[in-house]
């Protein structure tokens, strides 16, 4: 076990307190089952998500930097963010504060106004939940802990667009063997394969889900999601594994909408990778929040002897 990531600061972000609560529940449960410590950031704030970034990107940088400064103040050098949007924004703040003087100036000014020390880049490393489990436990560690193999479950791993883009804010990726790839990400594939799953070769693993368009142009989002779902089914997948609450919710909601509006029914199930991993580790479906998912997968899980 890597000592660096065996106890990390935890930044759940807003989505994991709402639509993504099953991701929060399963992340915490998996961490506990693996003996990994997490300490939630005290008094954390929104990372700036899309809404603030779209109006004032430097304000978004400050909002994310404030969370990093809290992690630093709590004595952590690593903060783990399971949400792709949060992960992306914290990484972007780190990059901007290291490369953009105007962002530094805004961060200094707003931090002073808010009465806390301004975050300086290089103090805290942001990681995704995938990095956390892979670095601290690894595939061999997962294999050794599996109590209920995912054997027989065919999975399309869907990473979404923000986990790897833009490449320059993820300097640790694309460093050869052992590192994550921005063009063909594989950390989720690796972890779930270690838990016994059969991963399918899914050609749309980083394609857009239309998440940002869900409210403003639902039809485009529905068509994009429908294509993700039908492609996963064409690849033979029983399940699409997700690692982002926005993608996950979009897949679930537009799966239902595609059937209602377009008359296109798909049956592939949608589960967070932490839910799958948790069940492989012997946790019940309820303990990892499967009942909170909009997509009904319990029949399949029972059929496969999971949960």
């Amino acid at each position: 076990m890597s000592s660096q990531n065996s106890k990390v600061a935890y930044y759940p972000g807003c989505a994991l307190e709402g639509t993504g609560s099953a991701y929060d529940r399963s992340t915490r449960a998996v961490g506990k089952a693996l003996g990994l410590g997490i300490e939630e950031l005290e008094n954390w704030n929104c990372c700036g998500a899309m809404e603030v970034k779209n109006i004032d990107p430097k304000l978004q940088t400050y909002l994310s930097a404030r969370n990093l400064s809290i992690a630093e103040k709590m004595g952590h050098t690593t903060v783990m963010a399971p949400c792709n949007g949060c992960y992306h924004n914290l990484k972007k703040a780190e990059y901007d504060l290291a490369h953009d003087l105007a962002s530094v100036e805004v961060n200094e000014r707003l931090s002073a106004k808010a009465g806390h020390a301004a975050y300086r880049p290089g103090k805290v490393t942001t990681i995704h939940a995938l990095d956390w489990i892979r670095d601290a436990i690894g595939e061999d560690g997962i294999k050794a802990r599996v109590r209920n193999s995912l054997s027989g479950l065919k999975i399309a791993n869907y990473y979404g667009c923000m986990y790897t883009r833009p490449r320059h804010i993820f300097p640790e990726k694309d460093k050869g063997p052992g590192s994550e790839s921005t063009s063909k990400p594989h950390f989720m594939d690796d972890l779930l394969a270690a838990a016994g799953a059969q991963n399918v070769d899914y050609p749309l693993k980083t394609a857009c889900c239309g998440g940002a368009h869900t409210l403003s142009d639902s039809d485009t989002s529905t068509r994009l999601v429908l294509n993700l779902l039908t492609t996963a089914e064409a690849c033979g997948a029983d399940v699409i594994a997700t690692e982002c609450p926005t993608c996950h919710t979009g897949l679930e909601m537009h799966q239902a909408r595609a059937e209602k509006v377009l008359g296109k029914k798909t049956t592939v199930k949608i589960l967070y990778f932490t839910q799958l991993l948790g069940m492989a580790l012997g946790l019940s479906a309820r303990a990892v929040g499967v009942h909170e998912n909009f997509s009904e997968s319990r029949d399949l899980l029972r059929e496969k002897g999971l949960g």
């Binding site: 779209n54 109006i55 667009c161 749309l204 940002a212 368009h213 403003s216 142009d217 994009l224 492609t231």
Partner: protein, 152 residues
């Protein structure tokens, strides 16, 4: 150049074709899907007031068009891997003519092409409003500028 009108129908026709047809006309289908991808990217490039490039990157004009379409438009990188997946599947189809999975490979290439069409169409639809991708630069910058220009 494939005409944008009818693109959806052409993709659906490929997806509806029998395995025997897909196997027999695999190269033609692969070429058609690549042409559809190029046509869609041409639309994006032209909409931005540019002349579509005739160059190739790694042997594919599709990749050169994507590169051209992404200049000054970081959010367009969200379809970079979709373009590369289309090229990958076309390569599989062309380079392994006797492979038993050829029909399946064409179907997957068609689905990848469909995703590219949907993504670029979505970008074009909202071009007057802002960015399609959530990883993009300020969505409502133009609106804010317009609002600031209104007197009073």
């Amino acid at each position: 150049m494939a005409e944008p009108a009818g693109i959806d129908e052409r993709i659906e026709a490929i997806l509806a074709a029998s395995p025997a047809d897909l196997a027999a006309r695999a190269d033609a289908h692969a070429d058609a899907l690549l042409a559809i991808g190029e046509a869609v990217l041409e639309r994006w490039v032209i909409a931005r007031g540019l002349v579509p490039t005739g160059d190739a990157v790694e042997g594919f004009r599709l990749l050169a068009l994507h590169r051209q379409g992404a200049v000054g438009e970081p959010s367009f990188h969200a379809c970079r891997e979709t373009c590369r997946e289309l090229v990958y599947h076309v390569n599989l189809i062309r380079l392994e003519p006797d492979h038993p999975d050829r029909p399946q490979r064409i179907r997957l290439a068609a689905m990848v092409a469909r995703h590219l069409v949907l993504f670029v169409d979505g970008k074009l639809e909202v071009a007057g409003l802002g960015e399609f991708c959530c990883a993009a630069r300020p969505l409502r910058a133009n609106e804010a500028e317009a609002a600031a220009a209104i007197p009073g």
